[in-house]
Structure formats: C-alpha cells, structure tokens
Amino acid sequence: MKFAIERSTDFYIKEDHPFRLLDARIKMGVSAALLLAILASSQPVMPVVVIVVSIAVLLAAGIPARVIMARFVPPLASVLVLVAVQSVLIGETPLHTLSVAGISVTLKCEGVARGMHIGLRVFGAVSILLLLSFLTSAHDIFRALRWCRVSAMWIEIALLMYRYLFVFLEEASAMAAAQRVRLGYTGVRNSLRSMGDLMGAVIVRSMEQGRITHESMTARGCADGIPIAPLPPMTWIARSGLAGAVAGIGLAYVLIEWGIR
C-alpha cells in the first residue's frame, strides 16, 4: 500500500535559502494579490505569465522538476474533466464533431475557449500556491496566519496535526507492510478487513498518543496550549516592499486586462 503523501512541499528547500528567509507575511500578501488577479482575469496572458515565472523561480530555488510536475497532476485531472464538460455543454457555435464508437458529440467554440481559460486559471493559481508552499515552512505560514488574527485554537490544532501527520504516516505504513507480509491483502474480503483494521488502529494509536502528548505538555507547563511565538512587527522596508509588490501586480493586471485587447 502506497499512501497518497510521502512528504510535504516545505521539505525541499534549504532552511537558509534567501527565498525561505523572506518574511512569510510578504510571501502570503504577494500570493493573495496574485491569486485575486488571476481569478479576476479575463485574458489568458496573466495566468500564462504567472505559470512561467513561478516555475522558473521554483527551478531556480532548486526544486526538482519532477516534484513540481507531480504537484500539477491532481489539478490536471479536474481541468480535463472541466474542459470536456464546458466544451460540450456551453455555447452554440460548433467547432468539431467527434464520433466515438458510433456516438457523435459536438464540441462548441465558446465552451472550448471557456474551458481552456478555466484550465489556465487553475494552473496559474496552483503555481502560486506551489511557489508559496515550496518556499515557506509550515510553521512560518501558521505564525503569519496567527498574525492575521486567525483563531489561536485553530492554529494550535493545526500545528499539532502537522506535527503528528508524518509520525502517523510512518506508523500506518509500517502497519500496512506488516499486514501485507501476513497476506492481509489477498482477495477483496481480506483487503477490506485489513484496511478497516488499519484505519481503526491509526485512530486508536492517535488516542493513545493524544494522552501521552497532553501529559508531556502538562509536564512542560503548556497545559493551556502550545505557545505560538508571535512574529515581530513588520519593518518599514518589509511593508514598503509588500506594498510595492502588490501595487506592481495591480498595475500589471490593469495593463493586461485593459491595455492588451
């Protein structure tokens, strides 16, 4: 059994890389501005530029190309389905009639154009997320979210979840391997039974670990919760940099949307 995750994106970049050292609030602010610009774009230029620049920055930061491509696979499946749905259901102008096993289906111009635009928007937005997540550690993102006044309880649970995610993943993989060598996955009935047991075992294990973790936290004086180190106030340079970047994105959006027609 191979789990759908092995490691998260923040694993790949070195801790002292300049991109990683950049204030997470700046990276999140720029990402939010870019996401908004892409969602609001009616032209393909903006998403295409963002995709190209994002992939170039990721490659320059030393992220392996196959890892970047692998992260584009899940949205690709959704995009293909959406393009197909849009192409046959939206519009009036026939573009091409397909005949598959005696069934004829007409693709419409408007639908294909709309589907392609949505597809570009998805890849553009995903590439921004990849840029943010590959270049920022989970803890920095959560601290920045706390700075944005996201609930402390939510952040605390998220930090604990993230901390134990890979611990349980390793344990579940070991349990699944043990089940496999004891022929737990021979036949449908056996497989379902083994998987159900595995799910139950991971839950039971989480309960045990929950008790142990709570006792450890109490012993360390953190019974009320994990202390989240607050981020220092943003410097004048950081604030100016963020404002400049957001203004630049806004200007680029205006030029692309109203300038290039």
Binding site: L129, S133, S206, H214
Partner: protein
C-alpha cells in the same frame, strides 16, 4: 437542449481516462471558482467553523486533554484520507473522505474544524484543493459530509440499528453527500448562461463511475474501523455517537 446520453458517455470516458487521480475530484482545485463564488462559500462555511471552535473550547474547558486528542484524531483522519482504495469499476485508486468516521467519533461541528485544517494543509503543502476554494471544500466535505454522516448515524442508532451498520451508513452517506455538494458547487459556478440543473446532472454523472463504488467501500471501511475501535476502546462507541 436536453443532456443526451452521448454527452454523458463522453464525459464518463474522460473521467476514465483521467481517473488515475480521482481523489483530486474530491477537492475543488485552486482557481476553478471565480472570486464572488469563492467568497460566498467562505461565508457559508464560517458559521460552522465558529460553532466547531466554540464546541472544542467548551469541551476542552471540561476535559483539557480534548484539544490534544482532537488534533491527533485529525492527523489520524488525514492519514486515513490518504489511504488508497482500489475502485473496481474505474480500475484506479481513490481515497476515502474520512469525515463520516470523524463525525461519529468527535461530533460534526469539531469535524468541520478538523476538515478545514486538513484541507488547508492539503492545499498548501500537497497542492490538493486550494486556498481560494477552501470555503467551498470545507462546506462540501467538512459541513455537508460531516453533518449528513453524523445525522444518519444518530438516526440509525435511535431506531435500533447496530453500531457497525450505522457506521457503514454514515461512511456511505457522507461520501456521497460530499460529492453531490461538490457537484452542486461546481455546477453553480460554471453553468454560465446554460441551465444549472443540466450542468449539475452532467457533473454528477461524471462522478458516478468512481463515487458509487467508493462510497460503498468507504462505508465498509468505516464499519471495519468502528469494529476495531470497539474491540479496543468500547466506551467511545458504546456512548452513542460520541
């Protein structure tokens, strides 16, 4: 124009061709929803998150270990949602939602909070789902999935159904309802000038080859998990839904 069989067949064929990662269909990808729709689903999800956080705070005040317990339970459910399940009809692997099982164990409102965290982690660090579609994904998986699964479990237990059968129904219903609501969210945002109902029907039909067997499998696995937990920690199941 009514949706013809041929259109549905073509879309189903595309699903088969792209079915190597149908788990992605569970989450609406980043960039699919336009800003107004993304904002609308955030607004719809926020009250449930507020309710969930308030309930966790309340229960943590009574039992301080609850917060740690629920966080680790969330991590476990996240791992469960990454377990590959072979889908016999599509011939590919997919993944369970896990929200039905989580709702049985911790209640629906805290499950919405756990789903919101899991979806945030998946969006940020695995590129599954997205940040702008987070509200929509929380609503379909964490709200509709968790509350429907929990409601079915509670009703089934009240009418005297065995806990294992009730867990099966919770897993099945939460999975199917998650996909139905995802289909509705997608069709409401993407129908354009066309009919909402027609788009909804088409997307539902597109999901059917993977989601019908996947829902049944999720039900069976939820039942197996509850059976295992019952043999180890019976009090968590014996006390009803919690």
């Amino acid at each position: 124009m009514k949706p013809s069989k041929s259109i549905h067949r073509l879309i189903v064929a595309v699903i088969f061709c792209t079915g190597a990662t149908p788990a992605a269909a569970m989450h609406i990808s980043e960039g699919i929803l336009t800003a107004p729709w993304a904002g609308l689903w955030f607004i719809a999800a926020v009250p449930f998150l507020y309710w969930g956080i308030r309930e966790i705070k309340k229960r943590s005040a009574v039992a301080p270990q609850f917060k740690t317990y629920i966080a680790l339970m969330g991590a476990a459910v996240f791992i469960i949602s990454c377990m590959p399940i072979p889908v016999p009809v599509a011939g590919t692997c997919s993944h369970p939602c896990g929200t039905g099982l989580a709702a049985i164990l911790v209640g629906p409102a805290p499950t919405a909070v756990l789903a919101s965290i899991a979806l945030t982690l998946q969006a940020l660090f695995l590129a599954h789902g997205g940040v702008t579609t987070l509200g929509a994904n929380i609503f379909s998986m964490g709200v509709v999935g968790a509350f429907s699964g929990y409601a079915v479990y509670v009703v089934a237990r009240r009418v005297g159904v065995n806990a294992l059968v009730a867990a099966f129904l919770a897993g099945l219903v939460s999975d199917w309802m998650t996909y139905a609501s995802t289909s509705f969210i997608l069709s409401s945002a993407l129908h354009g000038e066309g009919s909402l109902w027609r788009m909804f029907l088409t997307i539902v039909v597109a999901f059917v080859p993977t989601q019908v067997p996947l829902g049944i499998l999720e039900g069976i696995l939820s039942m197996g998990a509850v059976r295992f937990i019952y043999t180890r920690i019976p009090e968590i199941i014996k006390g009803g839904a919690r």
